[in-house]
């Protein structure tokens, strides 16, 4: 027996452990969904509605069927099982049911020997439409009772009144997730009637449930496999081509691949809900909120998707991270013929954050307070009731600290830069230095952690210890945020073993890990790994009579009592868990109760240079203080902070899907502009570690926060520079120039 030199395990929590998928991604060797390929596969293509609302008068597939190289042409009549799908409510036809309700709705699908033939076959299909007037105004739809959900919040005294009243109307446009990796899938028949599906997804188990329903198959007959994701941001939460590609494979008996082109991708996934919000804040002379009254409508588009939950978030976070005893909200999400809306990073909290932070700035201005001072005076903290639901904030919520830490970050050089690329207008050379005005703006944002409203939210993980090390088996999806790395770090630290490998499981091998959304996987699947690792460690220590596990094996009071080989001599040791967060409740009819599992807060300060005459903006620097609970991998967090800021800047000044009569006018990267490196500001960050009341080592999910308050911070800075009201995002040059 040797006396151990027990070192802390390398690449555990708190370190910037490298990503196992990092080098492959940087060197172009990582297989994304759109790289999937198998010999002998067919190519699929989709016929889509050119109208936002139209009756299908005639659909004749014969000209496509008879084309050489075409192997299948399918329509709604060919859907073997439930003709509709949907994550919450199955209301969307798998293929057009006789009426198209949005632009780009799938009508028929084709499988052919090659992509060209498949596309030609789609064009050969004879289709006649009778256009119907599209419903495109969400207020009108709401008035007509066409809503997916209505929310009413009644908290406190309706007669309460403040001495200062701020009223405002705000609008947010449609932002697209614009993931660089398009919708992609490969379906491979298994030869005995079943099918293996490899489709880009954020949650393969919820896909699986919808797919088997529409295929009319038993759960065991369909296996959904995780594939490499080239960006998700919510766009991979709902079904796109999954059922189609499976239908084509089952019909032809051959593997079938579908990859959307960019325009199809814009048509083929749900977007951020556009919103119209009417706000009334009442405060006392000191700036403390007395009452907040809100009426808002979100546009859910043609089908339900996750509109239900998005509206709940918009309603519950309508006041932000601030205390207020009297809150009255009427909110609805409308059914229209606009592009279907659903999940996108921030999920309802983004839209209202723009509105409430604009209100807070105006309140500060009226009272002559610094924008951060009015926020300090109202800051929500642990033990306080959430302004809307009245839920008492449990665990940590360092609202005051994010404000203080944000202020401690140094400001950028006050001089306007000389490099023209760093001026408004950039390489376009529009703007001389003396036409530039600088502005600074602030914003805070609040978000819930994981799923709310009594949803049975869990993640399953199976750990297996072998002589080679630990295997993590899970169906949780890595979308580029670094989940694999974090889970490996957690396992290493708990078990003391460095050799840890993540093995993605398909739907037949393990239960659901839940969605990679709602800022939940670090806490949920990370929490499952933590709990399973603790169970595994304790089991081994007990069996071998030790007090510590390391890379070498089991130690007892400093002495090695069993090597890892000895520990696994009788075979691998397994530990399975299904991890749940603290239960949440359905709110009552007035929105009161405990619908949330926890909260996370962040603050942003934006410094912008504006050319007021041309209305052009260059964001110089954005600093952020982020509530992280515990920084499991600081570098991964900073990655999220920077990426979220890029998306927030995009929404503030350029990202907008323009829809007219239900038709998307800019479904390309030529015209849907996302920030480039030249548009990206410098970022300063502070991570605030106050442990959460659940989850591994007190970590909080921070995937969404960075994008929520960065948008209003940028707009506040542009207002500070120009004095324009700017009640809509994205802010367009004509809004700033006032023409």
């Amino acid at each position: 027996m040797t006396v151990g030199t027990k070192e802390r395990v390398a690449a555990g929590i708190g370190e910037n452990a490298p990503r196992p998928d990092g080098v492959a991604k940087l060197s172009g060797n990582f297989a994304y969904g759109s790289d999937l390929w198998i010999d002998g596969m067919l190519w699929g293509a989709t016929l889509r509605s050119p109208y936002a609302h139209a009756r299908l008068v005639e659909l004749d597939i014969t000209p496509a069927v008879v084309m050489s190289g075409v192997r299948a042409v399918l329509t709604q009549d060919d859907v073997p099982g439930r003709p509709t799908f949907g994550q919450v409510e199955p209301d969307q036809p798998v293929l057009c049911d006789g009426v198209a309700r949005y632009w780009g709705e799938p009508v028929a699908i084709v499988a052919a020997d090659d992509q060209e033939t498949a596309r030609a076959a789609v064009e050969a299909i004879i289709v006649e439409w009778e256009p119907l007037p599209p419903v495109t105004d969400p207020d009108q739809a709401r008035a007509a009772g066409e809503t997916y959900r209505d929310m009413v919040i009644r908290r406190g005294d309706a007669d309460a009144a403040g001495s200062v009243v701020i009223e405002g109307e705000y609008e947010t446009a449609i932002q697209d997730q614009a993931p660089l990796g398009p919708e992609a899938g490969l379906a491979i028949p298994d030869g005995s009637g079943g099918v293996d599906l490899h489709v880009t997804s954020q949650w393969i188990h919820i896909d699986h449930a919808q797919i088997i329903a529409s295929l009319g198959m038993e759960p065991d007959d369909v296996r959904c496999h995780p594939v490499g994701i080239g960006g998700a941001f919510g766009a991979r939460e709902d079904i796109s081509l999954h059922i189609h590609v499976a239908m084509l494979a089952l019909r032809t008996g051959r593997p079938v691949r579908i990859v959307y082109d960019r325009t199809e991708s814009f048509a083929g996934h749900v977007k951020r809900h556009p919103a119209r919000m009417r706000y009334r804040h009442e405060a006392d002379d000191e700036g403390r909120l007395v009452k907040v009254t809100v009426d808002m409508v979100l546009d859910g588009g043609a089908y339900a998707h996750t509109s239900h939950a998005v509206l709940a978030n918009a309603s519950f976070f309508t006041v932000g991270p601030y205390k207020c005893d009297n809150v009255f909200v009427d909110a609805a999400v409308s059914r229209t013929n606009n592009p279907p809306a659903g999940a996108m990073r921030g999920f309802g909290a983004v839209q209202v954050c723009f509105a409430y932070e604009s209100q807070m700035d105006r309140l500060a201005e009226v009272l002559g307070l610094h924008p951060l001072e009015v926020r300090r005076r109202n800051a929500l903290g642990p033990g306080d009731p959430l302004a809307t639901s009245g839920q008492i904030v449990e665990g940590s919520l360092p609202t005051l600290r994010v404000i203080d830490e944000l202020e401690s970050i140094p400001m950028p050089d006050a001089a306007i830069p000389d490099d023209p690329r760093r001026l408004p207008g950039g390489t376009g050379l529009t703007t001389p230095k003396d036409a530039v005005v600088r502005g600074v703006g602030f914003a805070l944002g609040l978000k819930n952690l994981a799923f709310s409203e009594a949803f049975d939210d869990f993640s399953e993980v199976l750990l297996i210890l072998t002589p080679a090390g630990l295997e993590i088996h899970t169906a949780a999806i890595e979308v580029g945020q670094g989940l694999v790395t974090i889970c490996e770090q957690i396992a290493r630290t708990v078990l003391g073993i460095e050799a840890v490998a993540w093995l993605s499981a398909d739907t037949s091998q393990i239960g659901s890990a839940g969605s990679t959304s709602a800022s939940r996987q670090t806490q949920m699947t990370g929490g499952a790994v933590y709990e399973a690792a603790v169970g595994l460690r304790d089991k081994i220590l007990q069996q071998f009579g030790g007090d510590e596990l390391t890379n070498d094996g089991v130690y007892d009071r400093g002495e090695l009592v069993a090597t890892l080989d000895a520990v696994t001599a009788d075979g691998p040791i397994e530990q399975w868990v299904r991890y749940r967060h603290p239960p949440t409740e359905e709110p009552d009819e007035f929105g009161q109760g405990n619908p949330h599992a926890g909260f996370v807060v962040a603050a942003h300060r934006a410094v912008v240079d504006v050319d007021p005459e041309l209305g052009l903006v260059r964001v110089v620097q954005i600093d952020t203080a982020q509530d992280v609970g515990k920084a499991l991998n600081p570098q991964a967090i900073v990655g999220q902070l920077e990426g979220g800021i890029a998306q927030g800047v995009g929404f503030a000044i350029m990202e907008e899907l323009i829809v007219e009569d239900g038709v998307i006018l800019n479904p390309t990267f030529t015209d849907y502009l996302i920030p480039t490196l030249l548009d990206m500001p410098d970022v300063g960050s502070r991570l605030i570690e106050e442990p959460a009341h659940w989850g591994p080592f007190g970590a909080k999910g921070i995937g969404e926060s960075p994008t929520i308050s960065s948008t209003p911070a940028v707009v506040a800075a542009i207002r500070a520079a120009t004095g324009r009201p700017l009640n809509r995002v994205p802010v367009r040059p004509q809004d700033i120039a006032g023409v």
Binding site: T427, G428, L429, P432, L614, I653, P733, Q734, A737
Partner: protein, 267 residues
């Protein structure tokens, strides 16, 4: 014929005469976007990017196949400035001035420069030889030119007297890689200022009235510049579309023109 890579102009012209239905390919940065995904199927392709005559750039003659990457480093200031704004380095390595001219997009960034300096378009065909076309007779509509089906653009011809100063600017909401909401070139020569704008009409246009006004000023005052900007805004003929509004394009046209005059004066 499916595809021909012509190494010299006469080969290209012969092929063009024989296959007027075939499309010319230079850098492919416009054509391939169309071809991609089967939106457009050319009956045949004649690649001209390796025709020696089209790659030459000497004195007043810029070969049609000269790339943005070369123009970016060239001596003509506004041309270099605008070349830098075209797409990304990959696009600039492939895309050509001739392709930009042939595409004749209202937003084409090369076009206002051609209009501002009063350049001519040199074209050739097997049957009729060389023809020289004034820029305002070449661009006739949105993506419409007077190039005949058997012709190839061989060069852009610069005037004998080049401006003493020239400046370019382009408005877009992104700081790089963006299609112009408005682009503008102002050139200052012996005879005064010339002002050309793109994205504000079906074809590149000159703001002749504004030019006349500013060129009549003996010393250019602030008030004169304001009036000049107003006339430019009035003279352009923009539309509203998903990229911008008519009102903004008018406004930005005046602002850009004025700022470029100021830049020319400071040069």
């Amino acid at each position: 014929m499916d595809f021909l890579a012509a190494g010299d102009l006469s080969t290209a012209l012969d092929a063009r005469a024989e296959h007027p239905e075939a499309e010319l390919l230079a850098g492919g940065t416009d054509l391939m976007v169309e071809v991609n995904l089967s939106y457009h199927r050319p009956a045949g392709v004649i690649a001209v990017r390796s025709c020696e005559e089209l790659l030459e750039w000497e004195g007043r003659r810029i070969g049609a196949a000269v790339t943005w990457a070369r123009l970016e480093d060239g001596p003509h200031r506004a041309l270099a400035q605008l070349a830098r704004t075209i797409g990304s380095p990959q696009i600039r390595a492939a895309g050509t001035l001739g392709g930009n001219v042939a595409t004749a997009s209202p937003a084409g960034d090369g076009l206002p420069w051609i209009a501002a300096i009063d350049a001519e378009i040199e074209v050739a065909s097997q049957r009729r030889g060389t023809r020289i076309i004034a820029w305002d007779e070449f661009f006739v509509g949105v993506k419409e030119t007077t190039l005949a089906p058997d012709e190839i653009i061989t060069a852009i011809l610069l005037p004998e007297h080049m401006p003493v100063s020239q400046e370019f600017a382009k408005v877009g909401v992104r700081n790089v890689m963006v299609i112009a909401m408005v682009n503008c070139v102002v050139a200052r020569g012996e005879d005064g200022f010339r002002v050309a704008l793109g994205s504000v009409a079906p074809v590149p246009i000159r703001a002749y009235r504004a030019e006349e006004m500013i060129n009549a000023e003996t010393s250019i005052s602030d008030a004169a510049l304001t009036e000049f900007a107003r006339i430019v805004s009035d003279e352009v003929r923009p539309i509203s579309d998903h990229r911008s509004t008519e009102a903004y394009r008018r406004h930005a046209s005046g602002v850009l023109a004025r700022r470029l005059v100021e830049r020319c004066l400071a040069a």
